[in-house]
């Protein structure tokens, strides 16, 4: 305890109060961080953002297919997180809650984009906004990779929104069916059906693309 500031002690008291009745194993550093952020500590909230920003922006990009929209979605997601942080139980699955907010934000942005006649995912692909080259080397390999990425994005864009969300969360984010169901607010049976349908469509799209491209 030597050298701890008053604020640290207050934080500790707050954490202890919030987690009263929890065993020591359950008090994770993440839970402690959430509690500090809940008490209005902006540094703790900043750390929470650092811990999850990559995950949020990647998910948003996969769902929206546009880096600008992905940045906007990530920003809005963290603002909503801050707004509702006080209602979160720090011992429960924070990531799942964060995913849920991010998915809802992406859904809202996609809906707004459709309403406002803004560019669709496919239009973004056409405009070359979807793919940001990994580096400055404009080699043939990079070009092929970029083309393939665009084809995958186009395949995803053909899916209905719910199926796209289900397959992105399950196959690209690697979440379990149950977790996906919780995030999307539906049942695992529904999610399985959506995933099955989405995989069949992606496979059919890829087969068509391969036939069109020809051997090699």
């Amino acid at each position: 305890m030597h050298g701890e500031t008053g604020a640290d002690l207050m934080d500790f008291a707050l954490v202890a109060d919030k987690l009263s009745g929890q065993s020591d194993e359950q008090i994770t550093p993440a839970a402690r961080l959430i509690i500090r952020a809940q008490s209005g500590d902006l540094t703790a909230f900043d750390q929470l953002m650092i811990n999850h920003q990559q995950k949020v922006i990647t998910l948003a990009w996969r769902l929206l297919g546009n880096p600008d929209d992905a940045r906007d979605a990530a920003q809005e997601t963290f603002l909503r997180v801050y707004k509702h942080l006080k209602n979160v139980d720090p011992t429960r699955d924070f990531s799942g809650w964060l995913y849920r907010i991010a998915v809802n934000v992406c859904r809202d942005i996609a809906r707004k984009r459709l309403r406002g006649n803004q560019i669709s995912l496919e239009a973004a692909i056409e405009a070359g906004k979807l793919i940001e080259p990994a580096g400055s080397h404009n080699t043939e390999r990079v070009a092929i990779h970029a083309e393939e990425q665009a084809i995958i994005a186009r395949a995803l864009a053909t899916l209905p929104v719910k199926e796209r969300m289900a397959i992105v969360l399950r196959d690209l984010e690697g979440l379990s069916t149950e977790e996906v169901a919780r995030i999307l607010g539906s049942s695992p049976v529904t999610v399985r059906s959506q995933i099955s349908s989405a995989r069949s469509k992606i496979r059919a799209y890829r087969e068509r693309w391969l036939k069109k491209r020809g051997p090699g």
């Binding site: 990647t58 603002l79 995958i152 399950r170 069916t177 099955s196």
Partner: protein
């Protein structure tokens, strides 16, 4: 399970989304069915292909900018005064005095209006056709009947409903008595007292003026006013009283 049934399960099998029992069934089937095994292979390739959908490398400045924007937005929201804080400057003594005075005036005006309206409602006046006031009854204003045998049209005016009720034929053998001959079932407001209709309109419609009538007389609280009500006598067919 046959091939079509297995084919339906292959998309979920390729991602490991089947329950153990079904997964084992599909695996056993794929071991000897070349066509289904080929389809399963395509699904796995497609899934691997999809997993190659790698996001772009977002640079550190992108994340810094993102966090900076979020922090600024949080600060902006926090620095905005709450509704209570915005109302506080208005909550001084002068504001309280003015608003309470306005409220008192409003309530007083409302009470006066309601009282005035009630008084007007209760005020009924009946006048005779010639304009001579008799027993507080006003002159008729509509449908004047031709004079003869002391018959006159009497109008009862109700300011409450803003309607003028006209009694088509009223004989007044006694100026203090009004006889309602042909339509005794309407609702009358007599000298400030509401007398509800005793018989509804459907019965009124059946009344035949040639029928033998029964005569009822009601003395109101006002000794100058008596209501005489004529109604058909008891029916001979069923003994009902109208």
């Amino acid at each position: 399970m046959n091939c079509p049934q297995i084919e339906k399960l292959i998309p979920l099998y390729s991602g490991g989304d089947l329950p153990e029992e079904e997964e084992a069934t599909v695996r056993d089937h794929l071991a000897f069915c070349e066509q289904c095994a080929r389809i399963a292979g395509e699904f796995e390739e497609s899934r691997d292909w999809l997993c190659g959908f790698t996001p772009p490398q977002f640079d550190q400045p992108v994340f810094d900018d993102l966090r900076d924007k979020v922090r600024r937005e949080i600060t902006r929201v926090q620095s905005q005064p709450s509704l209570l804080e915005r109302l506080t400057p208005l909550l001084n003594i002068r504001f309280a005095l003015v608003s309470s005075s306005a409220l008192i005036l409003l309530v007083a005006g409302l009470i006066f209006y309601i009282n005035h309206r009630t008084t007007t409602t209760n005020h009924l006046s009946l006048k005779d056709k010639n304009g001579t006031s008799q027993n507080n009854w006003d002159n008729p204003t509509r449908n004047p009947q031709p004079s003869g045998e002391q018959q006159k049209t009497t109008v009862i005016r109700s300011s409450h409903r803003s309607k003028i009720y006209t009694l088509p034929t009223v004989s007044t053998p006694d100026p203090k008595t009004i006889v309602l001959k042909s339509n005794p079932f309407d609702l009358w407001l007599v000298a400030g007292e509401a007398v509800n209709s005793l018989i509804d309109e459907s019965q009124t419609a059946e009344v035949d003026s040639m029928q033998e009538m029964m005569r009822f007389e009601f003395q109101t609280a006002d000794p100058n006013i008596r209501i005489i009500w004529l109604t058909p006598k008891e029916s001979k067919h069923n003994g009902e009283t109208r």
